[in-house]
């Protein structure tokens, strides 16, 4: 039998943990259990928003046992991400893995205590799309689920492949208790917005709607449903643009709106402050209005 092959595989996983371990810091931002953060740029650490229960007196502890002060640059409760600046961090930076595939081996790695990193083994259980998160009804366009155990303090830690490259940031704060992973490319996009302006741009119209089936004459291959507007908020972009209760929202910028997720997808941050063409059915007659997309607070 070939035991050397198994040993080589085992060593490779220990190497993967060792490689990412130097990029992981312990984050002290709450009273009890410390959490983890990932160093991804010089003096910059990405962590989970929910592990920062205070804004001041934040510290991180590095792999070589240095305790350093940290400041919040920006945080976003919707995606459960926060960016910290740590002067003189000086640790190796994490590298992102190529896209994850279901079934790939994965290690969850965190630094929940000063005793060193911890790791658990699992697989990429699912690479999903369009996860509606939080009360803000923000949409995470892609996410990773894993069956690797998220030990206490693993939020803000990394899910890595067998080479130690980072699939994404691990958090149990998005879906209560479950180990969810925000893919690194998405996390870095949010982080870049947080670094630039301290918050994430999210478009908003200010309507409450419900899905309705369109009359046969208005249906098409791409569209069977629309959104019936049941409320228009005062002083909202929708009110200013002339949307009325009873209108059926059909399309925004030519994109058919079959459900609320379609609407969320089209109201991405780049559209904030810009006019969009909103096609509605009013009294059975289609017409197009112009609405300037607002910033969701």
């Amino acid at each position: 039998m070939d035991i050397s092959m198994l040993s080589a595989f085992s060593n490779q996983m220990a190497d993967a943990v060792e490689r990412v371990a130097k990029s992981l810091v312990m984050v002290n931002g709450r009273a009890r259990q410390p959490a983890t953060g990932i160093a991804y740029a010089d003096d910059i650490v990405l962590t989970a928003d929910h592990v920062l229960e205070r804004e001041n007196n934040l510290t991180v502890q590095t792999h070589d046992d240095r305790v350093l002060g940290a400041q919040i640059i920006g945080r976003d409760a919707s995606t459960d991400l926060a960016v910290l600046r740590v002067q003189g961090l000086g640790v190796p930076l994490a590298t992102a893995a190529a896209g994850a595939r279901a079934g790939q081996l994965a290690l969850a790695v965190g630094r929940p205590s000063p005793d060193g990193v911890m790791a658990s083994l699992g697989v990429v259980s699912k690479v999903g799309s369009s996860l509606r998160i939080g009360r803000s009804s923000a949409i995470l366009e892609r996410y990773i689920q894993t069956d690797a155990i998220p030990y206490p303090g693993f939020s803000g830690g990394a899910l890595v492949d067998v080479t130690g490259a980072v699939f994404g940031l691990l958090t149990t704060g998005l879906v209560r208790g479950a180990a969810m992973v925000i893919p690194m490319d998405i996390a870095l996009k949010v982080a870049s917005a947080l670094t630039k302006q301290g918050y994430v741009k999210r478009g908003y119209l200010g309507i409450v709607s419900q899905q309705v089936r369109l009359p046969p004459a208005q249906r098409s291959d791409a569209q069977e449903y629309g959104l019936l507007i049941v409320r228009v908020e005062e002083n909202s972009p929708a009110e200013r643009g002339g949307l009325l209760i009873g209108d059926i929202l059909l399309a925004v910028e030519g994109q058919p709106i079959n459900d609320a997720d379609d609407l969320m997808a089209v109201l991405h941050g780049d559209r904030v402050g810009k006019p969009v063409a909103v096609r509605v059915s009013r009294g059975g007659i289609a017409q197009t209005l112009t609405v300037v997309v607002g910033q969701k607070s």
């Binding site: 070939d2 035991i3 092959m5 198994l6 060593n11 005793d115 658990s120 690797a148 030990y151």
Partner: protein, 205 residues
Amino acid sequence: MKRSPLAVDQAFADMVEAAQASIVRIDGGGRGVGTGIIWRSDAAHSQVVTNAHVVAGITHHNGTGLCIVTADNRRFAAQRLASDSQLDLALLGLAVGGLPTARIGDSASLRVGELVFAVGNPWGQAGVVTAGVISGLGCMAVRRKGGTAPYIRSDVLLAPGNSGGPLLNAAGAVIGVNAMIFGGDLSVAIPSHVVAEWIADGDWR
């Protein structure tokens, strides 16, 4: 050398099969079942390592009730030679020789992320294998020389009945004795070098 995923899988199964021979079931006249490791065996005697808590009740209630069952289903009476409730270790003596002994690995230089396997008898099912990695390495306070003892945390799935069984490395060598003494979702094992020192010290005699 070509490394196909199937070859790794085969190596896995071969390694586990080879390790099974030195793993025994601890039976105590109807009381709870645990697992043990054949640590030594000469011409006429053998010694089995298990958890103190596995055998604590058994010998106390009935000095002759302690039995071990080998992987090839032979049954032998065992005597408790020593036990240490802090390390959760017990050493059993058998008046039979020539049993297959476990290969003991070096547990003094373990790394987080290393592949590990547990073999045991969870819920009374014989020879169940679970796999995972070393999750962390810690130290616990004990009332012994030095005042602390190292332990291994892993993410292998353990259940009652795994207690006293081996934690094996990728080479199939025993690097720890599963103890689960802290409960919760962390499986805890006593490193094999701690077990070896405990036996060699002989302060249990």
